[in-house]
Amino acid sequence: MLRALLFAAALCLCLPASNALAQQSELQTLLQSHQADVAKPSRSSVDAVLADLAASNLPGVATFLEKWQSKDVWVRESDGVFFFGRETKDGIELTSIATGEVVATVGKKEASQIKPNGGVRKQLGTALVQFQLSDPDITRRTAAVDAIAKSPAADQLEPLLAAIEDEPDAALKARKTRLAGLLGARFADDEAERIAAIEALSGELSLDVRAVMNQLLTTQSKVATALPDDVNIAHVYNVGDDLTADAAYAQLVAANLAPAKISEAEIKTALVANVANGSAGGIPTGQLGDIAKRLTAYDALAAAGTVPARVTDADVQSALTTHVFFDVYDEPSAAITAAALEARTEIRQRVAFNQAGDFALDALSLASIYFLAAIGLAITFGVMGVINMAHGEFIMMGAYTGYVVQQFIPDYTISILVALPLAFAVTFGAGVAMERLVIRWLYHRPLETLLATFGISIALQQLAKNIFGTQARPLTSPAWLDGALVFNDVVSISYIRIAIFVLAVIFLGLILFILKKTRLGLEVRAVTQNPGMAASMGINPDRINMLTFGLGSGIAGIAGVAIGLYAKVTSEMGADYIVQSFMTVVVGGVGNVWGTLAGATMIGTLQKGIEWLNPSNTLAAQTYMILFIILFIQFRPKGIVALKGRAAGD
């Protein structure tokens, strides 16, 4: 013991006295000056100590308070000095508050643990929160705010309010104020204060505010013979109207106010248990395959007292009429629940409004995906009238081109910039080859074109499967496209979808420009309307058809890169888009790029709309959308934007 003390003293002397250490020893001195109040704290005396500790502004105070609260502070009997203590198997290991060094290990009799009672510990906790909330280190303050936000409790409100004013960091101050509002709505002492806090929250729509409102408005289902006066009633049920008789009776049974109904399965079990001499309840078992006979048998058993009697419909009815069913708020104050209800209604309206905005963004992004997938088709099918069932496979080829490029160029930004023109080149070449070899021989034979290009489609799909395998290949987007543009807790859109939207707009402009403003576009339109006349004007229809088809296919390749960025690249990805793309073109109106845009917008909005009504089921959304399109074509066979006059071709 003495040796240990000497060693500790020698250690103290050897250590250079740093500034922090000096402050720590100040803390020790301060504590020793309140020796009696620290050693035996009571609710009345602890306030003075806490006030002094707070005033001292010493760095070790929070740590000390934590240890004090968790009963880790010990006092040495011999001289009344405080230590941080830890029980080991040799005795009590004492650590100096002043130096943070292990000073000695003493026997159990030589030091005693300080055990603040529950009330004091609570006060310590409150003070501790305050210390953490106004800690000079911003990370500790943020951590304390996070902890409160995660598990809010009533006693945190006061220290939080106290810590707002001196907060130097503006963002954290705003968070503290907001958190204080959330806590105030639930835990403020004064009813008026709480209502004010609730009303202040009604302008928000974030998840935590909605959670607070729901917590304020939690209800319990109750049943009684008459409505009690002393509770805050949320809703009184009208049995048969907004509460089924079965559910109401189940509540009665759960509240032990009525006997449980005997189900058919229980009747069967009871009968099986009471089979004797080939009969149960006086009826031979052979006849018990009939529900009426079973009931008779069961009633006979009940009359004999072997089983509980059945609950008849009349019993149920009388039990239901003699009871009232109602919901009671957990919150006793009617004024507060009324304010919360009003605030929740307002928040819900705001959330619904924002959800509509989010839905519009979703629909827009889906529409731009459909548009990108279909715009190539709008040229080959819409303008040229060629059915290309392999269009989806061109999309796939574009996506795989992007994947291959990423294997060689590891920088994702550069690789995407390389992949886009390369995908265009690859699918342009494939499109020109296909036009030269197959489609050229089948103009004016659209049904044969359909089947021949379908043959190419399955061949290309299988080829991709043979080369790249059946598993999905990733096409990774650059880091600056990760994440989402978040407006609030409801409205957000990922950057990739914005990029696809931008790409779709660029292509809309590009296609319109080429078709309307360039020599090539003029020749394309001329050949489409009347090849013979165009040829006699000196246009080479063969060349124009080849270029147009190549252009449409090339755009499919670029769409493939864009689609591959947000969906996986598989050999079947094109097939997923082909029917939808044809729908888009047909619904929009053949031969018109604006029509394709209208078609994509309509199909995208419609699909999202149906998904919104029935969110669990995207398959159903697609089914209903296709049915709608079939019906739509009945009424506008030429699509939304129908060509008129000679351009219509008939």
Partner: protein, 410 residues
């Protein structure tokens, strides 16, 4: 001059004779009724192929004769399969459930059996109640009626909507494809009432014939399929011959002219579309008990496109061409994909037909469309020295009209 059905369609006798000989040959070689040279599974494959030939004839009538490239007939085939599958599954499950419940000390009520059957069938999609669509599944007669009614009504309603608004050509094809896609997506849902993507299974077990070995059941279904194919051939030969047939072919080649001649084109098209749908349903009802399982993937649009492929390869516009195409391609396909075809080593790479068969099929399909528009059936013209009549241009201006090269005298 009035001619009989047979003299106008000499192919009927040839076809029936060939089909009869084939059936006899298989019967003699099968396990149950003959020497056992052919395995039961191969008898099933042949029986299924006969059903595919039947739907191929239906497809040929609607496409090759009427000019409607329907990409939805396999949906009708699937509906027929589902209709019969519901009874097969219900009756068999009910028998099993009743047997297991009979072990209890008191006999089960009718409701208990139905509930337990429902749990057995729909447990896999997390449900136990029978949806409304199963209302008739307890009765074989009613379900057989459904085999005819479901495809027939769907085709009638869809066809009426489509033909009424004069949707033709490629648009009609895409519309039928959309219908097929919608149907298969609907069936893929778990709450569609038809077990979602699990489909209906265990259909090869015929209720009431549990004791009969599969070898006998398979040959019985083979006979039924052969009979259905024969009857279907005669029916469609009748439909496509005579005045009716002329009008239908006229619609294919030049719909506008037929309309101006005073025929109600929509009714003819609707009749052809509906009757081929019903026959497709029958073919499906015979096919799936032999296949044993049906699921929504069978209805996917690609199946209907393959159907068009068979007809085109066989030669459209002639019934026996469709039969040859369907039998040839589907048997060849199962030979290639089943590992029957030998690999071809090229030194640097070995062509495995499981991987390359689809590419071969796709390319050969392009080749047939481009170079052999008459398909395999065209060989018969070559053998019988039928001369293609001299024509300038195609048979008519319509999209589905026969091409100059496809032509032959009817």
């Amino acid at each position: 001059m009035k001619q009989g059905l047979l003299s106008r369609n000499p192919s009927i006798l040839w076809f029936l004779a060939a089909l009869g000989l084939f059936t006899l040959g298989i019967t003699v070689l099968s396990e149950a009724t003959g020497t056992g040279l052919i395995s039961t599974s191969f008898v099933k494959t042949l029986g299924k192929t006969l059903c595919l030939c039947l739907i191929a004839i239906a497809m040929d009538v609607v496409w090759g004769y009427c000019g409607i490239l329907s990409l939805g007939h396999f949906a009708f085939f699937g509906i027929g399969g589902y209709a019969i599958g519901m009874w097969l599954m219900y009756a068999r499950t009910e028998a099993i459930v009743a047997e297991s419940l009979a072990a209890s000390p008191i006999p089960p009520t009718a409701q208990e059996i139905i509930d337990a059957t429902g749990t057995q069938i729909f447990g896999v999609v997390g449900s136990s109640d029978f949806p409304l669509i199963w209302a008739f599944s307890h009765s074989l007669t009613l379900q057989l009626l459904m085999v005819l009614l479901f495809p027939g009504l769907l085709a009638l309603v869809f066809g009426w909507l489509a033909f009424r608004s004069r949707v033709t050509g490629v648009y009609l094809s895409i519309l039928t494809q959309a219908m097929t896609l919608a149907l298969s997506l609907y069936l893929f849902q778990n709450d569609s009432g038809l077990r979602g993507n699990n489909g209906l299974s265990g259909l090869q077990n015929i209720p009431g014939f549990e004791a009969v070995p599969q070898s006998q059941i398979s040959i019985a279904f083979f006979w039924a399929s052969a009979l259905a194919l024969g009857l279907g051939y005669v029916l469609f030969a009748y439909v496509t011959s005579g005045k009716m047939g002329s009008v239908v072919r006229g619609i294919r080649d030049n719909e506008g002219r037929v309309r101006f001649l005073g025929y109600h084109v929509e009714s003819y098209k609707l009749f052809v579309f509906t009757i081929t749908a019903i026959v497709s349903g029958i073919a499906g009802a015979l096919y799936y008990p032999q296949a044993g399982i049906i699921n929504p993937a069978e209805i996917a649009p690609i199946a209907s496109i393959y159907l068009a492929v068979w007809v085109a390869i066989g030669g459209r516009g002639r019934l026996y061409g469709a039969v040859i195409g369907a039998a040839f391609v589907s048997l060849l396909s199962s030979w290639f994909t089943g590992g029957g075809a030998p690999d071809i080593p090229l030194g640097f790479y070995t062509i495995q037909w499981v991987d390359w068969w689809l590419i071969l099929l796709g390319l050969s399909f392009v080749a047939v469309t481009l170079f052999f528009p008459k398909g395999i059936g065209g060989l018969f013209d070559y053998l019988t020295h039928v001369k293609t009549p001299f024509r300038v241009g195609d048979y008519g201006p319509d999209k589905g009209a026969l091409r100059q090269e496809e032509g032959h005298e009817q």
